[in-house]
């Protein structure tokens, strides 16, 4: 069965620090990849997605992610985080109609 792994469970950063959250998936076929964010008290919303083409995808709020097929990875990055980026971040892989979510990474940004 397909699975998604997020190795960073809790990350604490100071404002302006750079961010990289790891995501690995286990599926050898065609897969679409997503990063979702859940701000405190809000519902899950899409940050960015990859399905083909340029492996470096840009999303909202200055986030980007790089798809590295050889490493089965789709890491999320942001060069300079803000206090408002404090949230839970979920990586998800999609094949057909099925979605597989990672366990999430809790990011706390200290002003």
């Amino acid at each position: 069965a397909q699975s998604v792994s997020q190795h960073n469970h809790h990350v604490i950063l100071s404002e302006a620090a750079s961010l990289e959250l790891g995501c690995n998936y286990s599926y050898g076929g065609t897969v679409n990849l997503f990063w979702y964010v859940q701000y405190p008290g809000q519902h899950l919303q899409l940050l960015l997605k990859y399905f083909s083409g340029d492996p470096l995808v840009k999303g909202i709020k200055g986030f980007e992610a790089e798809f590295i097929k050889s490493k089965f990875s789709f890491n999320l990055r942001k060069p300079s985080v803000q206090w408002s980026d404090t949230a839970e971040y979920f990586c998800a892989a999609n094949t057909g109609n099925q979605f597989y979510f990672g366990t999430g990474t809790s990011l706390t940004v200290i002003p």
Binding site: Q42, S52, F90, Q98, F101
Partner: protein, 115 residues
């Protein structure tokens, strides 16, 4: 475009009681998902509908959980009887039909507390 609607937003019940959650997906979205999200974990799929048919319910505890989507639009998820470990947020998501890279759209969730 209206988002995915869920109700109630919060529910507190005692163990062994029953509870029902309602979801109205985005108009035109054929695929509907129910997830259970326990604090500190990622969403876990309970059941997936394509129109009014069940695509995947392999992780639904069928002895106590049931779900339906009779007219292929809104859906209800029921728990009867509830257990303490059912305390979680129940998320509904919808998605366009097809194999394209269509993302899921999530509702605000229903936070269930079983005491």
């Amino acid at each position: 475009e209206a988002g995915v609607a869920q109700s109630p937003r919060y529910k507190i019940i005692e163990k062994r009681q029953s509870v029902a959650f309602w979801c109205n997906p985005i108009s035109g979205h054929a695929t509907l998902y129910w997830y259970q999200q326990i604090l500190g974990q990622g969403p876990k799929l309970l059941i997936q509908f394509q129109n009014n048919g069940v695509v995947d319910d392999s992780q639904l505890p069928k002895d106590r959980f049931s779900a339906e989507r009779l007219k292929g639009v809104d859906s209800t998820l029921k728990i009867q009887p509830a257990k303490l470990e059912d305390s979680a947020v129940y998320l509904c998501a919808s998605r366009r039909q097809g194999l394209g890279p269509y993302e899921q759209y999530f509702g605000p969730g229903t936070r269930l507390t079983v005491t």
